[in-house]
Amino acid sequence: MTHFEIELEKLKNVIIKIGNLAEGQVQESIKALLSEPIEGKEVKKIESKIDKLDVKIDEICQSIFALQQPVASDLRFIMGSLQMSNEIERIGDLAVSVIKRNKSIKDKHDLIAKFDIAELGKKVELITSKTNAFFLTRDETLFTEIFSLNTAIKIKSNETILEIITEMKSHSKTVVSGTNLVIVIKHLERISDHCTNIAEYVYFIINAKIIKHDKHEDINLE
C-alpha cells in the first residue's frame, strides 16, 4: 500500500467510525422516545466524539488536497467525504435534539402509542443503517431502498403530524406535548433527509455524477 493509499484508508475508517457513532445516537434517540429516558452523559460524550471526528475528517482531507493532489475517483472520494461528514454530524445533532425534546413530552407513552411513533422510529433506524451500509459496500440496490424509505418516512410523518394537529384541536391540554412531538417527528424526518444526501454523495463517488438536485426518479441506475 502506498503512503497515499494509507491516507485514503485512514479517511475511510474515520467515516465508518463517525457513521456508526451517528447511527448509535439515532438508535439511542428512538429508544429514549419509545421507552425510558436514557443516560444523558453518554449521549453528550458521543456527541463530542462525533464533533472531533468531523474536524479530523476536515484535517485529513485538507492534508490530502495540499500534499497529494488527488484526481478522478480519489478526488471524488475526498470531496464526498467532506460533504458526508457534515451530513453525519448533523444527524448526530438531530438525534441529540430528539433526546432533549423527548423530556418535554408529558403523557408521552400514550401519545407515542396513539400515533404509532414506533413504526416511524423503526424506519428512521433502518434508513440510517442502510446509509452506512451503502457507504461501506457500495451496493447500489441500497441506494434505491434508501430513497424508498425516505419517501415512506415523509408520508408517515405528514400523516402523523396531521393526526396530532387534529388531536390538539379537540383536546387543548395536549397542545404542549403535541407540539413537542411534532418537532421530534420533524427531526426524525430531517435525519432521513440527511441520509439521502449521504447516499447521493456515495453515488457521486461511485458514478462521478452529481445528482444532489435531481429528482430521484430521473436517476438512471447503472
Partner: protein, 252 residues
C-alpha cells in the same frame, strides 16, 4: 472533433523490429493545448517527434500510417521537410540557445529564411520576445550572450526563437521539467497565452502540469493511445481503467 489541425490515421512506428507506436489514430484540435501523458517508454515523445518528422533523423525507423497536418500527409514524398519544421516548431526539455547574443538567437531563423532587413528583424525579435513573455526582462541587454541567462529565461528565449519563424504548431517536450516552480509557472502561463495563436502539443511527466495547462489530454501506454479526451474529463472521470490507474498513481 471540430476544427481539427492534425489528424493521425493508423500511425505505427518501428525502431528496427521493435514497434514503438501501435496504430495510433487521433485528432488534435486547432488553437488548443493537447497534453501527452504516460509512463516512460510509452511512446509519447516518439509520437511528438513524428509530428515534425524528427524521427527521420534516426536510422532504422520505419513509419506507417498517415500524419495529416491541415489535411496534408507530412510523410508524403512530395512534402518538403524543411518547410514542415518551419511550420511546426519544437521546444525541448533542456533549453538549447545558440552560443550567440539574445538578439541573434531570435533573429537566426528569420535570417536563414531570407529576412535581412534590420527594421524587419528588430520587429520580429521584439514581437517574439514579447510573445514569449520575456521582452521586459531582456530588452536592455539584447546584445548579451544567451548563455548568461537563467534556465527559465533560456527556455523562454528558445520559445521566442521558435515563434520567430511564425509556426502554426508548437511541440513542447517536457519544456519545464528542468525549471524551478516560478519559471515553470511562467512557462505554463505562456502556454496558456500562446494557444490563442498556435496549436500546442506538450509532453509532460508532470500530471498536474498537464491538468493545469491543457485543454485535451492523451494517455499513452506501451505504444498505444489508451484514451484522448477533454482534460477536465480525463482528470475527473476517465473512461478507461488504465487511465484512472495511471493518473491516480496506482499503475503497474
Amino acid at each position: 472533433m471540430k476544427n481539427t489541425k492534425i489528424e493521425v490515421k493508423d500511425l505505427s512506428l518501428y525502431y528496427g523490429e521493435k514497434q514503438a507506436l501501435k496504430n495510433i489514430s487521433l485528432e488534435i484540435p486547432r488553437n488548443k493545448v493537447t497534453a501527452l501523458i504516460g509512463p516512460s517508454g510509452c511512446g509519447k515523445s516518439t509520437f511528438l517527434r513524428c509530428i515534425n518528422r524528427m524521427n527521420d533523423l534516426i536510422p532504422s525507423v520505419k513509419i506507417t500510417g498517415e500524419m495529416l497536418v491541415e489535411g496534408i500527409d507530412i510523410y508524403d514524398k512530395n512534402v518538403d521537410v524543411v518547410n514542415i519544421r518551419k511550420k511546426i516548431g519544437m521546444v525541448f526539455q533542456k533549453s538549447n540557445p545558440f552560443p550567440k547574443s539574445i538578439y541573434e538567437n531570435v533573429a537566426y531563423g528569420p535570417k536563414i529564411n531570407g529576412i535581412n532587413n534590420k527594421t524587419e528583424l528588430d520587429e520580429i525579435v521584439e514581437t517574439s520576445l514579447r510573445q514569449a513573455a520575456i521582452w521586459d526582462e531582456l530588452k536592455d541587454r539584447l546584445d548579451d550572450s544567451a548563455m548568461g541567462l537563467s534556465g527559465g529565461q533560456q527556455q523562454r528565449l528558445c520559445i521566442a526563437r521558435t515563434l520567430a519563424v511564425s509556426p502554426d504548431i508548437i511541440l513542447m517536450d517536457e519544456p519545464a521539467s528542468a525549471l524551478d516552480p516560478i519559471s515553470t509557472s511562467k512557462i505554463e502561463e505562456l502556454v496558456h497565452e500562446l494557444k490563442e495563436q498556435y496549436t500546442i502539443i506538450i509532453v509532460t511527466h508532470n500530471m498536474q502540469q498537464a491538468a493545469r495547462t491543457s485543454d485535451y489530454t492523451a494517455f499513452f501506454y506501451l505504444g498505444e493511445l489508451i484514451e484522448l479526451g477533454k482534460t477536465n474529463t480525463i482528470f475527473t472521470k476517465p473512461e478507461q481503467k488504465q487511465t484512472e490507474d495511471y493518473i491516480t498513481g496506482r499503475f503497474g
